[in-house]
Structures are given as structure tokens and as C-alpha cells.
Symmetry: D3
Subunit: 297 residues, 6 copies
């Protein structure tokens, strides 16, 4: 096993296999790395000789970060808690459609059940993938359940076999499709970049980890912004500038035609679709927007 205290040793980075895999690879590539996953290997290649990539399931990631098998890893807050792992959280990473909204672990029962809250489950059996967290939840509520049964996937179909389930939900559509009713929320979770304590206290490794975090967050932020350019008649400039977000001053450049100027600015992608029609009505022409691949505030 390699020595994590040696600054020349590559940073071992765990990325999640499964539902987040494709968007994680995409994130690293947008952040400036060439990360390639070959179908049968658990060791993606990357063009940075100071990094070594490994794929694990999100469920086991934090345990291996704690063990020091890897220096940093990307996983969900839920599994850090479930594994009760002693790790350093570096930052939150909301980088894919799937992770933009936090996921919730909810206590659910059949629509027709007489159970309306955690307290009604005294003596009951609850099926879940998150056994430890659910046990602690009922202990903290002082509700003595009979058993928290570990479920290997498809937990939602077990709500009618046991007394209740605790399952993950984003939009609630899978619960609705199974005619289940949410009676409580157990845990809210987002994606995190976490580090092993020993690696984090090594200055060279920490610098490397911080740079990685900066680039990953820059790539995430780029998705939320667009570059905007337009030609503006000089006598409409004040009106146009008033429409633009005030955060940072836009660049204003002369055009060959002295009656016009070119205005350039970075705006939130989510306001663009309301801003552009207004700019057009206010006299801006030749409005173009272009995508960004990295934005560092």
C-alpha cells in the first residue's frame, strides 16, 4: 500500500459508479481533465499524472476514504451519515440534473395504511437500505420498532409486505406510482467531495484537493451562466445597462459604426430567457449568447 504522506504519490480519487457515473465523467472533462472510463475497468484513466482514479459505489465511498484506501471521494451526505464515517468534507457539488435538487429519504406507507407518523410504528417492521440511520431516527423519537430490515433495492414494492419503508425520493413519482404516502422525512442529502483526514493535513495533497475543488466548482458554475453580447445604439445604452444585472460592470466597446457600441456581460442562465426578449424590445440588436466552460467567481 502506498504511503499517503509522500507528496509525490498521486492523489487517489474515488468517483461514484452507477447513476452519477456519466455526469461525474462529464464534470471532470468540463473541468479540464481527460477522464476516460473503459467499460470493464474500475480504474478510469486521467491525463494528470498526479491523480489516480477509482470507481466505487456511492454507498461504500466514505468508508474507503476513512480507511485511507483513497484520499478523496465523491459521494452523498446520506451514505457518509449511514456509514458514520469520520472524514473531512471539502465542498458540496451540485453538478447534475440528478443532484441539483437534494434527495430526501422519507418514511412511506401504503395510501390505505392507518399509519400517519413515526409514532404509529411501534412494534412494526420497516424495510430500508439505510438501516443505521433509520434505527437512530426511531431511537431519537423514542419509538420502539420491532425490526429495521435491510432491503436490497426495490424498497418501494415492500411497503405492503412490511409496515413501512424508508426510501429515497427526488420527485416522489416512484412513490406515487406505488400508491404510497409520505409520513415523515428522515434525511435530506446532497453530493459532497470528501477527503481523508491524513491527506487533508498534508499541505501538498491539500493544495491539490483545493485546486480540484476549484475547477470542479468552476465547471458547475459555468452551466449556470452564459456570455451575452449585443450591439446597442449609443442613445439606448443607459436603458440597456439598466436592464442588466448590476453585480459586475459589463464591457462596452466601440464599433466601427460610431453610433453603436458593443456590450458584453456574463449573466445567470436562468434569467437569460426573460432578459433577452426585454433587451430586444429595448433596442439591442445582434444579441448573441454563448456557452461557458468554466466560471470562477
Amino acid at each position: 500500500m502506498t504511503d499517503p504522506s509522500n507528496p509525490l504519490v498521486p492523489l487517489r480519487v474515488g468517483i461514484p459508479k452507477g447513476s452519477l457515473q456519466d455526469s461525474t465523467v462529464d464534470l471532470f472533462n468540463r473541468a479540464g481533465y481527460h477522464l476516460r472510463v473503459s467499460e470493464r475497468s474500475y480504474f478510469p484513466t486521467i491525463d494528470d499524472p498526479q491523480m489516480q482514479m477509482i470507481m466505487f459505489r456511492a454507498q461504500e465511498m466514505s468508508r474507503y476514504v476513512e480507511d485511507g484506501v483513497i484520499d478523496v471521494g465523491i459521494t452523498g451526505y446520506d451514505w457518509i451519515i449511514e456509514n458514520d464515517s469520520d472524514v473531512q468534507e471539502v465542498c458540496e457539488l451540485t453538478y447534475s440534473k440528478a443532484t441539483l435538487a437534494p434527495t430526501r429519504w422519507v418514511l412511506a406507507v401504503p395510501e390505505e395504511s392507518t399509519i400517519h407518523g413515526a409514532k404509529d410504528l411501534a412494534g412494526g417492521i420497516i424495510a430500508t437500505e439505510l438501516v443505521n440511520t433509520v434505527r437512530k431516527f426511531f431511537q431519537s423519537r423514542g419509538v420502539p420498532v420491532k425490526k429495521v430490515e435491510f432491503s436490497w433495492g426495490a424498497t418501494e414494492v415492500k411497503a405492503r409486505l412490511f409496515n413501512a419503508i424508508v426510501d429515497i425520493t427526488e420527485t416522489g413519482s416512484s412513490l406515487r406510482a406505488n400508491n404510497l404516502r409520505i409520513v415523515d422525512t428522515i434525511l435530506v442529502s446532497t453530493t459532497r467531495l470528501i477527503a481523508n483526514h491524513k491527506a487533508w493535513s498534508d499541505p501538498a495533497k491539500r493544495r491539490k484537493i483545493e485546486d480540484l475543488a476549484l475547477l470542479l466548482r468552476g465547471a458547475i458554475a459555468a452551466r449556470e451562466k452564459v456570455g451575452l453580447k449585443m450591439n446597442v445604439p449609443k442613445d439606448h445604452l443607459g436603458q440597456i445597462l439598466a436592464l442588466l444585472p448590476a453585480e459586475k460592470s459589463p464591457t462596452v466597446n466601440p464599433l466601427a459604426d460610431p453610433a453603436w457600441v458593443a456590450v458584453e456581460v456574463i449573466v445567470e442562465e436562468r434569467v437569460e430567457r426573460e432578459l433577452v426578449p426585454r433587451l430586444s424590445r429595448a433596442g439591442a440588436t445582434g444579441i448573441i449568447s454563448y456557452a461557458l466552460s468554466k466560471v470562477i467567481a
Copy 2:
């Protein structure tokens, strides 16, 4: 059923299921919306609370716009005509490879057939998906056909079972592969954005529809343009500018090196591949082009 006269009610937007589906989703996303289609649902999600998306077949879209089931829809001119729908056309949308060229509905017969025009089909049977339009076509030509038989797909293989077919063609390759000969054109069609009359006469809905049209067309136009930047020696500037399209004046900015200037301009993507070699030969260096995600004239 929701009341379409209420300005707070979301705009119900129908998008075509089938061959145009992927490019429509792509178009909305480039226009600034986050539109997500889940595999088994007919109700895509969108991040604009003022819009509600539904997927229908292009063939039925205009009838539901007319009925008021949806406020606006994207469909082909052919099916608006076939359904004889009373709807408001908002604009043309030529947004995908498949829709760049208009599609044609043509009257076709086997290569070896003795039929050479519509008039030779008196007493014959014609198979087509566009029954009403074909009936009207023969009536307008005064040709009494025996029957216009509705065909559920694969119309081209029926040309040898009946006397002729009327089928859609883009490049003619499917007709050639079946050894068919075109003897007339029945209808030429492109994709349209259409609106329900009542929705169109509601000012709030109309504003929303017009903004949507502006953004969709901006995303379409962006595909046809590129941003071009280059470094130009000051003494070649006139020659370089003469090569650029005259429509709108380019931006010219100083560089740190006073003998050079930076020139920036938006050009048609289709002239770029001839323009770039010429600019290079005329002395421009560091020529870069970049993609645009929206262009509003």
C-alpha cells in the same frame, strides 16, 4: 379542465412525439429551458412554472390546439391542412436536420407503371396516410378516383398493391429503394408553431407565446452563425475588413502589441469555411471561431 382565459394558468405546450422529439427537446434546451422527457411519461418537465408540456403525435397536434386542450403546439403544415384545423400560425421553425429542407408529399407509382400523372388514375385506388388532402387534390384536378385508402405506415411498399401511393419524401431515397417514380407533388410542408385562437387573443398568453417564439428562433439562428475573432496587423486591416460580410460593423480592439488589432465579428456558418482560408492568406493570425447558443437579429 383549466380555464384558458386565466393569465395565471400555465401555457400548455404540445411538442411532437416521434422523429422530431429529440431535436425538439434539444431546441428548447438551447433556447434556455431545462426540458426533460422521461421515457414512459407523456408530460415532459420544464423549469418554467408558466409552462406545461405535453407530447402528442404531430398528426393529432393541430386538432388539440383547435379544441383548446393545449394553447400552442409544434407540428407540420401537412397535418394542419389534413386535419383542416382552424388555428393561428405563429411562425415557421426550421430547427433540425430533418426540417431544414421542406418535406414533400408526392404521388408515386412503380417505375414500370404506365401511369404518368394524376389524370391517369381515374378509377384507381391510392394508398396514403393523408387521406383528406389526397381526396381534395384529385377533386381539384377533376380526376374521379375509386378510393383513397388509408395506410398505416410503410406506404411505399403498397405502390405495387394499389394503383399509386401518396407518401412523404425528403431525399427520395426510400422511393428509389422501392423502385418508385414520382409523378406529381401534392403538398410541401415545413414545421410550424401554432396557437389556439382564444389563447392568442389573451394578451398575457400572447406575450408568453411571442417570447417563446423569439427564443426558439434565436436558438435556431445560432446554429447558422459563428463568432469569429482574429489578430490583424494594422496595415492589413482594410484588406481584411473588405473580406468580411458588410452587414454589421465588426468590433476592432487594440492589442498589447500596438502593431496589431483584434477583430471580432459574427458570420454565417456556411461561409466560414471559405472565409477562413482567405483571411489566413490575407495575413490574419490567431483566427478562432466559437459556437453561439442564441442569435437575435
Copy 3:
């Protein structure tokens, strides 16, 4: 057969079918062409009436360029050599992940073999797809092998059936998976654009070929660069400029806020991930990077 000396005749361009196909189509599209491959046709369509596209296997390309069946083609140096084709090399094209690193044809034996070099193969049988090249290799080394047997794919599994193989390798992973050991390198190869001699000596065709080469290489170079913009406090400008690559002077533009300037520059994509954290630490804010679609030096 069309006359290759006629300047009005389209340029016939061969592109490789198989592993390079998708990245070749992508390259042409980024270079400004609309190239479309339909699944069952060997004749992709392109929106340039002066070009006609055909797909061949990389293995046969150079023979057809030599025969004049096509004017130019994209293939590997290895197959030009194997076919001993008399063609004009126009330029190297390193345009896909797969072609960034040169491929190597290596002589390999089972790990447990007693063979440690070409000389140990006197009297042996070697299986390979590159029969002529391997024969010449052993002749040049003066090693009299018994037979060089042509292998139709899956050459690596034949290393234990014959005495050795000569197979292509990029990363060596397939060899390792078969427990093979490399004992020599036969040929190193990259992708090339090649032309028929007669076409190359025709001025109109040559101009067309050179423009094509310029655009293809511009699209390749664009992948290796990014555009970078940032806002810099005027009093940090010198420090920031010192961090930027010195090749070409960046543009420096005033911002509305007189204490700040906007700096814009094109940098190598591979230095971006080290440069950006440094610029951030040096005081640059609002750092954005954006992708380029063409770069002509």
C-alpha cells in the same frame, strides 16, 4: 469513371469506416461541413457540392487513392506502408482520443515464452494482420522465419497457437490481458491525409485539398485551446499578465468600473487547469473559459 483532371469534378474524399468513423464525422462537422452518415450507405452526404464522400476501411484506403478511385483519403501510416502505396502525404491529423497517441505494431510472445527478441524467431511462424511489413522486418534483421501467417482479427489470442504475433497496441492493455510480453516494435503509426498524385498536381484540386487540410487542422487545434476572459484590478495587471503565456499579446479592455480591466486570451487547454487556480490566487475574478470551434495559427 469520372476524369480526375477536370477541375469542375467534385473532389472524391475517402473516410475510414470503423473505429475512427465517428470521430472523423465529428471532425468534419467541427471543421464547418455538414457530413451525415446514414446507417446502411457507404456514401455519406456533405453540404459542399465540390466534394463527394466515400467510406472505406482504413486498410484499403491508400490502394484506392493510388488507383485514383478517390482523390484524397484519411488512413493510417501503417496501412500506407503495408500496401506499399505510391501516394502524396498532405498532413498528419491527430484528431481523436484514439489518434492522439501514435499506435504501435509490436512483436509479442506469451509471458512464459523463451523468445526475447526477433532473432529468436528463426524457423518460427508469426501471425499478424500486417503480413508484408512483418516479412520485410524479419528480412531486414536477417532472421529467416518459416511463415508469416495472415490473421483475421483477434491476433492476440493466437500468440499461444503460433510462435509470436505482431499486433497493434495503444496502451498495451489488451496484451496484458492476454499475458503477452512485447519483445520488439515493428512500426509506429499516426493518421494521415493522403492524396492521389494526379489530383495533387491539378491546381484547382490542390487548392481544394489544402483548404480542407487547413480547416481540419483548425478544428483539431481548437480542441487543444480554450478562450479565457477575466476581470483584473488595474494594480494587479502586471502580475496577471506575467502568468499568461507570452506567445501572443492578450486583449485588454476597459470596464465601466475604471479600477478594473477585462483581459482576454487564448491558452492551451492542457495548461488551463493549472493556470486558472493561479490567476484566481493572483486576484483575477470573474474568470470564464469558453470552448473554441476552430483555431488557425
Copy 4:
């Protein structure tokens, strides 16, 4: 067009494209034909020179049988009725899992709707694929609906857009998944073999059609029976025979060991799983069952 009265002309047979396609091909093959469907052709090949196969959608089949474009076809009773086709029904064919149970076309509304029967739909709009049948249904009930709107698939998602739908259901699961409630049954349908009247009145064609029907039904029946053999001690023979179905006498053959006999019989497949344990308990040994490929009563 070929002359259907000529006995030497092959029988033109239409088979349904779509959900029944694979089981239809399987049925013909079990009936003794070698029927091959190639992916892109609508004309399957068959090893009987007196038959010619064509694939159509079940929806259009009966119209083409009536037109004489084909002599016989396999389609659903529902589409014969919807098309109001004047054809000869030859026999019912319940040959696939999907066709074992009849399909039902039902009138359905949202669970929460106040509609509880056809009569509540006066003035309403009903979406369905079976427009003519539904119109007649409401006429026969004397309920004046506003419109029966043709729906191109995915009818179940339209129940909340219109007032009701009429859709096909086998198990009701798709209706349940959309939270719909059945309020009436419009039509019950099974698969049929139908013939053109002119072909049916031609003796040679009719003989060919009847033989085809015999073989197809023989292959269907074979699925519902199994061959059963067992060794029985002579002194248990009466008891064993009493357990067997009485329809037809079983064969009883001597074995080399004179104390035993071999009993062989054909039984219904659905009773086999209850019969076999009983036979075992009654003393039969060496019980084997084997599949049949054709059973003609």
C-alpha cells in the same frame, strides 16, 4: 394486379405487423412452414410456393382483404368491426399469450371523475383509436356526444384532457397505472383468420385456406397438450387408468419386465401439474412428459 380467380396463383396471406408479429411467425413455424421475416422487408419469405406473405398493421388488414389485395389475413375482431369490412371469417386463432384472453375496449374516466356511465357523457369529447365503433356505441345508447376524437396512441394519458377515453385493455394494469376507472365495455375482441369472399368461393383457394387453418389450429392445440408416458405395475393399472382423463383410451404396452406395463397418453397441459403428483403417489414410476408440435383432434 394478379387475378384472384386463377387457382395456380399463390395464396396471398397478410400477417399482422407489430405486437403479434413474433408470435405469428412462431405459429407458422410450429405449423410446419419456414417463415422468415427480414428486418426491413414487408414481404416475409415462406417455403411454400403456393403462398405469398405480406405484413400489414392489424388495423388495416380487413380492408385489404375486402379489397382483394390479399386473399386471407390475420387480424382482430375489433378492427374488422371498426373498418366495417365485408369479409369471410374462417376461424378464431388464440395463439399467443397476448391473444389467449380476449381483449376488451373499455370506456374509462379518471378515478376522480363524476362520470359513472355512458349516459353521463352527453355533450362530451371522447378520445379513442376506434372512432367509428365508439360513435355507433353512443348512437345505440342514444347519448349525443359532442365529438369522438381520433387519438394516435397513448390514449390513456388523454383521459384527463378530454371527458373520457375508449381504450384497449387486457389486464387493466395500464388503466390502473394512470388512475383511470372503467365505466363500460364497448367491444370484446379475439384474433381471427379472415378471407376475401371471392377467394373463399374459389374451390382450390378454399381448400388451401382450410388446410392452413387446420395446421395453424393444430399448432395452437399442441401448446395446450403434452404427451405423458409412465411405467405402471400391472396390479396398479386400474387405479392409474382411473386417474387419467377418459376422453380417449391410452396405449398400454408390455415392458421386458412382465410385472410392468408402459402407459402412454396425451393430456391437457393445464391438468398435468396436478395429475403428475397423483400418478406418482399412485405408484407410477419413470413418468415422463414431452412437448408436442401439432395436435389435430
Copy 5:
């Protein structure tokens, strides 16, 4: 929850989701049931009203049988042991290629490791899916390991991250592909039919379970036997019979031609390929073999 003591209540049967799923469905169908799995449902349908099917992972099956959520289930001996479940074993079921040979859970290390047995792992970390079983194994050997770490799949790639792994193997090929070396066997496992104790003590349920076991084992046995018939010249009969297995007397029937007899027998499928050439050389003609779908000894 339904009352398991009620004989009218259907038998709840758990079948394994995952690698055994297809062969389990096939087994039930060959046993005489019509079992249908729909892609998105965990509740397969079966044509026996006295049975209700549920799919679970093999890993959780025995726990739910013990809990009484299901009456019987099919799972591996390994997971019964790992879960320490108190259930009734009904019979072994070796019904698929994958289950013909028992699977082994082995302790494996990298080829180059210095570990050669369990005892060398004192203080080490072992990754496995079978945590409890592995812990007990090391306890029983008196080897104090540091940690038995739960691994979510892909355990074989973790052998170089931890000190050793315990993983499942059939042929050893996955271990070889990862250059691992087996140093001990932890557990040997086959597939089992297990029952809940309460269900097993209910006479009606037990009868149903025993009949199910009889039919499943009959379908399994059928795969291992074939029916063999041949025509034998009367004067070769003794010689032919001598070649046949002696277990049970074959049937010998007269043929129309009095010099010949028909011989029929059931033989082991694995001896057939050696027996048939011998029978042919001994004078048997018209030798045919046919498949069996059930064999009850």
C-alpha cells in the same frame, strides 16, 4: 397482512431477481406453470390461483422467508448462512448452467502477495459481500483480523486495495483475469428451495410445497435425460439391449416388418453421445432421440 395459517390463502413464493431470474422463469414454465415477468413489476403473474409470486434478491430471500413475508423461496445456501436464517430446507435445485456446479466463496490475494493462508491475515482488512460468514471463519480459525469491510460488488478489484478479499467464483476466470490467487475456501453453496416453518407445519401448504418441489425437480431431471427410439433387427436385439443402461427395462414393440422391432428407452443425456455411435455400429437404424419436459423417477 394475510394469515399464513389459512389453507385457502395462496402460497407466497419468492423467486430470485438477477442472474438466476431467467432460468428460474424457464424452470417454472417447464414444470408446467405459466409464469410471466413484466419488466417493471416485482410481482410475476402465474396461472395457478393458489400461488402468488414475488421477486427478491437472493441476498434477502431467506430473511423474508423467516419473517413469514413469503412462505417459500429460492435462494443460495450461502445467503441462508450469511443471514443466519431459521428456515426449513425443502430440497436442492440445480436447475441452470449457473447452478449445476456449486459456487465457492474463496479467500483470494494478489498473485504477488506474500499471504499464503488465512493465518497470514492477522491484523489485515478483508473486503467481501459476505461479512458475517467471513468474520465467523476467521474467528473459528483463531485469526484476529482488523476489519471485515463490506464491499458493494466488484470485490475482485479490491484485492490490491485491502489485504485480501472473499469473493464468489465458479470457474475462477474472473480471479485469473485480475491476477488473484486463491488461498482458501470459505463456503461451498448450491441453490435451495426453503420454507417458512409455520407454512411447512400447515398440512395444506406443505402438500402444495411438496407438489411444487416434485414438479420443479421433474423439470430439472428432464434436462438430463432424453428419449431414444430405434429400429432393431430381431437377431441383433440381445446385443443392442446389452448396450443400453440396465436400470429399467426398455419397451420393445413389433414393427409391420416382422424381422424388426422398435426399441424405446430413456437414457441419461450425457451418455447419449457415446451410446448413439455404438448403437449405430451394432446395427440399430432409424435411431431418433427426442427431448423430455418432465421426468419423475
Copy 6:
């Protein structure tokens, strides 16, 4: 390399990779072997310890049989000839739809070509995969062609690039789809089992090869026959027997009902569909047919 003269050494058997692969595996399994191909391996497993399986392309098979790398192989006659391999032909194997009809290598030209026979190709270039055979063909005809160019697949699209092609055809459909015309036949080919001369002269190996051939041909013949049983009223027996093929006498057994007998016979599968309706009309009832898995004449 193993010694082929040692009778204890397994027989090395080459089976064709590619279009014949699935039907070859199926053939071996029907012949009584358990042959399993894993997706990434070229060494299928078989349950006969005296056999070792390897997969090669049909094109290279005969060369490796000649070299002694394998003892026997399955390949086409065309590639034995093209490779000019000195091997022992064991038997013909027409075991799949694809091999029932012989394949033909034909000389083809565009429909519109002025070439009408081999003699018109003097001075021309012909593209083909079968270079040696085509060269010999033109030599034998005394036609001096300029070049026979090796084509890597998709030969049919090259007919308009060169003067003619020689390509494989089964039904001619690919040629028709490319509008090509056949002007001559070069070679007719079927599938063969071939053996290395040394292996064939080894008595133990030859016995093993002959048994293999017997079983493979038995499995092939089984596809062409069916078992037929029926109940016949004694007074119709003569009439029924007269309808049956005369080759071999059927078995006639008494039934419990003395007025009836059971008749059993093996018939050609291709006559079954005409025979069964006749038997039914002649009074046979309870006609069943069943599939055979092996037939040795």
C-alpha cells in the same frame, strides 16, 4: 505446442466466428454437447474433456487446419479453395438456414454496364475478397485483367468504382439493392467439416472425428424429420398406411379400445403439412407430431 499424434491429447476443434457462430453453437448443443461461448473469449468451453474448442474466422480456418494448429474445423468450401489448403474433407454440414442453400460467388457489374461476360473485362480492375480464386478464374478463361484488387467488405458498393466485383450471394437481394447484374458464377460453396491429414491418419483421433460427424449430421437430420402418432380406426388402417411414406414400416400398437390402433412413424418435416390434412380427412384422429433432436439413418 502439443503433439497431435498422442491419442490422449484433446481433439482441437475450430468453429467459425461470425455469421455461422450462433447456429454452430446450437448445432453442437443439439448434437449432445454443452458448448458455451463467453462474449470476450475465443475459447468456448465444452463438456467433453477430449475436445478443445477455438473460434476463428471462416476465412482463416483451413490454413490453421493445414498448419496443424487445430485438428478439425468447420468452414466454407470457398475459403478452402481460396487458401489452397491441403486438408481432409470429412463431410458436408448443411446445418443452418444460412447454409441450407449453397452460397455462390458471382461476377457482377452495374445494371447499366456494357460488360456482359468475363471476356469483356480484359484490362479491367475487379474488386473481391476472394483474390486468388478470381485470378485463377480469369487465367483459366484466358482473360488478361489489369488487377484483382482485394476488398475489405462492402464489395457490392465498389462495382461502380471499379469495372466489376466478385461477391458472395445467397438470394441476390443485396446485389439487386445495389442495382447490380450477375454476369457469371465463379464458385459454388457449402459448409464443410475438414481435418488435418496427420490427425485423420491417427486412429484414435479419426474415431473421435467420425463420431463427431455422426452426431452433428444426426442433429442436422433431426431438423428435417418429425415424429407422428395418430389413432386409427382398424377398418381405415390400410388406407392410412397407404398415405404414409413407404421407406420404413410404422409401429402399430393396440389401444384399450379394440376398434382402434395407435400408429407411429417418422416422416420428412416438409411433407408433414400436406400429409396431416390428408390423414385427418382419411379418418385418423388424435394426430400429434413432436420434434426430434437426433436422427441417425
